[in-house]
Symmetry: C2
Subunit: 189 residues, 2 copies
Amino acid sequence: MPIHERRERERADRHRLIIDSARDLAEAEGWEAVTTRRLAERVEYSQPVLYSHFKGKDAIVRAVAVDGFGVLAGLLRGARSGVEGAAALRAVAEAYLDFAAERPALYDAMFVQRVEVPFGTSETPDELRAAFGEFMAAVTPVAGQRDPETLVEVFWSALHGLATLTAGHRLRPDHHRARLELVLTGLLN
Amino acid sequence: MPIHERRERERADRHRLIIDSARDLAEAEGWEAVTTRRLAERVEYSQPVLYSHFKGKDAIVRAVAVDGFGVLAGLLRGARSGVEGAAALRAVAEAYLDFAAERPALYDAMFVQRVEVPFGTSETPDELRAAFGEFMAAVTPVAGQRDPETLVEVFWSALHGLATLTAGHRLRPDHHRARLELVLTGLLN
DNA sequence: CTCCAGATTCTAGCGTTGCTAGGTTATGGA
DNA sequence: TCCATAACCTAGCAACGCTAGAATCTGGAG
């Protein structure tokens, strides 16, 4: 086993460590607490090491976001497995909103921060494709004669709107379920 | 006319000038370009003057946001005047999405930045109440036996989701109208 | 007109941020 | 044993939000 392989492995481990530490720190204290100094301290290296792995802080946030899409895809897949039709749609919606509520910092990286993850291009990361695919799988069976992809976009928009406005305390905390019902009946029409 | 009245007037003028300059600068170059130094330079005063009007940069962004809700309320009112029912709903939706698309920086201050404008409390500014009132006026006539306020929250969430995901280039640029139609038919059911 | 108290405004600087140039240390092959 | 290379850190830059304290301006009293 050549040494450069071990080096590469160690480097990959440290890459992961940086991403995980950034996510942990953000989830513990919010993204404003994620400075390159504090992050470097957490991974027990100096600041420049971060820049040998990522082009800048934005790239680190972007990596956390892409990772988050992988997590989300897994949750959506788990939610819709074993159920079909309207029940699957409801399960996916609930899983999505739970994810946004329980991991607000991660959701922030994915959707709110200015990180500009490439969407709908050839460079779109697999994690994003997977998450979108879960949406498609849940929505297509109930689409009827409507375009599934457009319906996914609307479904996703409604959920995203609910998630962000809820996080910003701009919707009545109770009535959460009532809003979800309205979204689902609107979609199922 | 006592001099202290003139002083107060000048002070109010400068208050407005700061808010307007911050908005203009953000709309021209994005919020990341709005630094206290550049803003001070724009209003032709030194930095500390900003802090004699606002508690900090956040307060300035918040003032821009509240102002934005006033603008939005006016646009929504104009859109739904003269039409009724489903047509009014469509007009309001289009006006909202146009506003978000045409003034992304202002929309950002209102909804995306971390500014925490008080919602649904006794301290909620009139501009916010007005904007929400426009939504209520457009939605209530088509609510049927559904709770109008809940329906407004869902309608607003869907529009907000469409607006932010569109701004982040996460929806197909064409199909804009198709998505709007799906939202409206879902709501009108 | 002169002078002063108070309001107004600015200069200068603090601590922190993202990022990087250049020097130091560790490593593995010759 | 030595050295080229890779790995890593120290130190510092420019810009950020914010503020203490000095300087300047203003209007009314003597």
